[in-house]
Symmetry: C2
Subunit: 333 residues, 2 copies
């Protein structure tokens, strides 16, 4: 059997089974959440790693090295945020073809520094290797108080909410790869969403401090990431499609496709969280960042996301979201 036949998530299950249970009692979370977590004295340390590979995750025709640097760190900061943590220390493993311009590497690190400065991350190490294509693998260590946001804490009856808009990154990706030439403000909106995502660190802090327990960041796509919550929490989820927060300009430009982008596009790096309605009401009073309630957690249909139309009828939806080995026709920009 080949890895593309098993798929990314089947492979993760196989790996988790092969490495077995961790042994340290300080370990709070191992494989299976947005980050690993372990106790050191009074605080919790978090760690995550995410890789960007040329012609898989990005295409150098469509992205500047500086944006690439931003994004490589942003996707990791988003994982730390999704646990309710603060990012601290980053290491960068870099693979480069030998004929890469030195100026490109400088730009890459300027992009890394742009976002590191904004989120108070120190770049503390890494390594550089020759490689057939450009590879940027960032490991990020963060810290959290005793309250973590996890994938496994959703409860039946919880409302499901998401910050910001969904599908804007996928729309930006589509724009970069096509001959689509929207007006300047639209171009800026879409490019920014896709190339310079803003991880929701401050928002996650508000959630963690005000009673939210379950969250994930939207990297693979709404359905896929909500399924991760359902599987880890052993619950189901009902999502009302007409409630999905799609930016009006994306809806106008991409029509029916905008819904697919919102459901399965991924890379929005928004926070998807669940909580009792009283907690959601409290968050609404405190948090200035927009968020939208899109459905609720159910006891039934454990591990599954059910999509409902305006009339409350179940909608069948095939695409789950990004799977590295199966989504052959769904290359990223």
């Amino acid at each position: 059997m080949k890895v593309w036949e098993l798929g990314e998530f089947g492979l993760i299950d196989l790996i988790a089974r092969t490495v077995g249970k961790p042994s340290r009692e300080e370990l709070v979370l191992g494989i299976g959440d947005d980050t690993a977590a372990w106790r050191t004295g009074k605080s919790i340390q978090l760690a995550t790693t995410d890789i960007l590979i040329q012609d898989v995750h990005f295409n150098l025709d469509n992205v500047t090295w500086r944006d690439l640097g931003w994004k490589a760190l942003a996707v990791n900061i988003s994982d730390i945020a999704a646990m309710g943590g603060m990012p601290c220390y980053a290491m960068v493993s870099l693979g480069l073809p030998p004929d890469t311009e030195v100026a490109s590497v400088r730009e890459l690190y300027r992009g890394i520094k742009d976002i590191a400065g904004k989120f108070d991350v120190d770049i503390v190490g890494g390594n550089i290797s020759k490689a057939p294509v450009a590879i940027i693998d960032v490991s990020l260590i963060g810290k959290a108080s005793q309250v973590l946001l996890t994938r496994s804490a959703a409860k039946p009856g919880d409302l499901i909410a998401v910050t910001g808009y969904l599908g804007t990154s996928a729309a930006g990706c589509r724009m970069l790869k096509s001959s689509l030439k929207p007006d300047k403000s639209m171009t800026v909106l879409l490019k920014k969403a896709h190339l310079r995502p803003n991880p929701r660190v401050a928002e996650a802090q508000i959630l963690a401090k005000n009673g939210v327990k379950a969250a994930i960041d939207i990297s693979d796509g709404l359905i896929s990431d909500l399924t991760h919550i359902c599987e880890a929490s052993k619950v189901g989820a009902r999502v009302q499609m007409d409630r999905l927060p799609v930016h009006p300009r994306v809806k106008a430009a991409f029509k029916d496709e905008a819904m697919a982008m919102a459901l399965s596009g991924g890379e929005d790096y928004e926070l998807l969280f669940t909580a009792k309605s009283s907690v959601i009401d409290k968050i609404r009073k405190i948090m200035s960042t927009r968020f939208t309630v899109i459905g609720e957690i159910t006891k039934e249909h454990s591990g599954k996301v059910t999509l409902l139309d305006r009339q409350g009828k179940t909608v069948n939806w095939d695409e789950r979201g990004w799977d590295h080995f199966r989504s052959q026709g769904q290359e990223k920009a």
Copy 2:
């Protein structure tokens, strides 16, 4: 200018300048040592990352997936050891061509588990991506007491010592790539040195607890790694070539080449350390693992390694060791 013209170490300097000084006061060490280090309560956390890329660091014709798993974690454990630390938590970023056999991935993780079990490392996370070649990037977090072994603590008058043998890994690499067919025990010796290196965690603990302050692990090669100590400590080093610990069987099989392997071959993952002679004497009484004094640290020739022959004459040596972008003719197995 291209990165191969600037070279790996020039690039590291440029990156360190671009990202600038870290801001956190808890940070003990950032870019420039074997690991980063920061304080959390009473202990020190260490973090390092090292990548293996197909056809750059390994060739699937010469290495099993299981050995690859061992080595990917071993090289990181060696970095933690070189700081006097204990390895704790590992994350694995994996890039795989979609037609990779699932059984190969299982074997890779069995190899990772082999060494993780031996050194009490928990595998706590990672990610998997499609990639044009196999890529294994491991990040490892460890812990240390307040005493760290650093590259910058060597002092004039210190003796220079190294554990085990030098050049055995390079000899193993040569054997795997050539038609060389030594007898079985020799094959086992060389393959083990190259494919299943044993990081010196316990030895480094003894060094750190008994007054040694300066160490590095030998990954790039003796001259290159000793130069790192000289640069970081602002000292010089004199090495007596006839004292280098080359395994008698390697010396017999590879004759004059054995010296080049010992000086520049790299990947031995032995500990190179410096200390006052009284400390070295003490270590000799305590540590059962063999180690050899090969020279001394000098005030003169700061940042440079000087090689001396049996008569005390300076020997010119061109090859410094492994540089990812410059060592075009020096591919690894």
